[in-house]
Amino acid sequence: MWTQWIEEYFDGIHRTLTALPRDTLLQVIAQIEAAARDGHTIFLCGNGGSAATASHFACDLAKGTRRPSAPMVRVVALTDNVPLLTAWANDTEYRYVFAEQLRPLVRPGDLLIAISGSGNSPNVLEAVRVAREAGAFTIGLTGFQGGKLRELVDLCLIVPNTCMEQIEDIHLILQHTITTVLRRTWENAWAAVPILHEEPLPDARRVPGS
């Protein structure tokens, strides 16, 4: 019995990875890469296991991609400030815990990665609304049929599975995949830099009016 359940679980993971839409994943990585290189901030949020993934993703994006000349990624997980999170929950409603943290921080061109297996977590949906109002790009990481998140975000990566544990597993695999692809991208980009020593050009990524 146990052996069978184990094999079924492993099988589910295997089949889901095979069926994962690669073109959407490419678009997700391209959005994160461009935002990071342009110096925009990447925000993450989620509940339960997805909260852990949000924090873990932020950690890996911030540190795991760091290379001498690669962009230093500006990334904030909205799951990490427990005092602030509980204050908003206690004084308003739980659905505003991410949205109200996000409101003063988010700027046009920033990126929000909203993680919700069901795609229906009210606090995640509120955060997406605030991000969109501010002119940020929004990405959903979901499962099932994508839930309400699917229609609300600019780009939705739906893990084709209906088992919450497996959806959360795949989200974790995805974040490690994305981090690895970004690190290799930036390593390669700078390996191609010329034989000559580059005189450092101070780098203004985004241009305010001069």
Binding site: A30, D38, H197, E198, L201, V207, P208, S210
Partner: protein, 334 residues
């Protein structure tokens, strides 16, 4: 010691004309463009006495010294104005060379300005950001020299890459278009440039366009508004990886752009474009202000050979497209 600066040239897909101050100060403009791995180079070497500025085709020569009147010939108004902006520094030789012919709609004068400013800034110890280099290049070309050009070339050359560049009265914003390397490589394979052999100064066409915009010619304004919107739609096609959809929009944009001014196209260009479409090209346009220069074509891979043959039969010379991602760079050689 040598200082070498290089700045890429660019092709713009849509929105050219909305980067003219007459347009964007009122309506806000935007351009979708990409830089190519063809560069304008400026090489600076310290020279013991007088200073020289020499261009690779030897038709341009400029000699100046702090205590004497400058000697110069050829059309060097832009390099001269840049040297003036840096206080005509003495004791240097400057050598300028470009990988593309001037006047072919690839924005090479903006690239020249950016490369020269970057090298002179490095020499003078000025710490300029990419944005500041681009803005200084714009000021010199547009305000000091009164050239009827927009701001897109200078920003493209300074930043490099595939960008949506937005122009507002309050400033310019450069936003990278997020596409995966797979999509980008496919786009490179499906784009090809064909040299029509006709070089022209952009100033005549742009002057007409500038005047039409300033006088609020409703036909011109309507087309410019639509081209600006198309730039955004084309960016969206690229980010979702729909390259053929992008090609179709390129065709639409060319039809709109052709109608901006009679001189943008001519019989020969129209015949070439029709032949390219006949052979399987989906979209295309004349690069830059128009009237000659390069014909850019988007073709599905299976049609590229037939299209290339059709174009070479008409006397056009093909040039492969590869993108640059680095923008202006300065190298020091010890």
């Amino acid at each position: 010691m040598l200082l070498i600066a290089r700045a890429p040239v660019r092709i713009s897909f849509a929105g050219g004309g909305t980067d003219l101050p007459a347009y964007f100060t009122r309506y806000g403009g935007q351009v979708l463009s990409v830089t190519l791995n063809r560069y304008v180079y400026t090489i600076l070497s310290p020279a013991p006495r007088a200073a020289h500025l020499i261009s690779a085709n030897y038709s341009l020569f400029h000699q100046y010294a702090p205590d004497r009147d400058a000697l110069w010939d050829g059309n060097l108004s832009l390099p001269r104005a840049i040297l003036e902006a840096f206080g005509n520094p003495g004791g240097i030789d400057l050598f300028i060379a470009a990988q593309v012919p001037p006047g072919t709609g690839l924005g090479s004068s903006g690239s020249l300005a950016v490369a020269m400013i970057a090298v002179l800034a490095a020499w003078s110890g000025w710490s300029l950001s990419r944005a500041e280099i681009a803005e200084l290049a714009c000021q010199i070309e547009i305000e000091r020299l009164g050239m009827p050009v927009g701001k897109q070339d200078q920003y493209a050359a300074a930043f490099g890459g595939l960008n949506r560049i937005r122009f507002e009265a309050g400033g310019v914003t450069v936003e990278r278009v997020p596409i995966a390397p797979e999509v980008r490589q496919a786009l490179e394979r499906r784009l090809r440039l064909f040299y029509t052999g006709q070089a022209r100064p952009s100033s005549t066409i742009l002057k007409t366009q500038q005047r039409a915009t300033a006088e609020e010619d409703p036909q011109v304004l309507r087309r410019l508004h639509l081209l600006k919107a198309l730039a955004e739609e084309m960016e969206e096609r690229l980010t979702v990886g729909d390259l053929d959809g992008f090609g179709r929009l390129l065709h639409e944009a060319w039809a709109l752009k052709r109608g901006l001014a009679a001189s943008i196209s001519n019989d020969f260009i129209d015949r070439c474009y029709a032949a390219a479409r006949e052979a399987g090209a989906i979209g295309g346009k004349i690069t830059g202000a128009g009237g000659g220069g390069f014909l850019l074509l988007y073709c599905p891979e299976h049609a590229m050979e037939a299209v290339t043959k059709a174009m070479t039969d008409m006397g056009l010379k093909p040039m492969d497209v590869a993108f640059d991602d680095q923008g202006v760079q300065v190298f020091r050689v010890e």
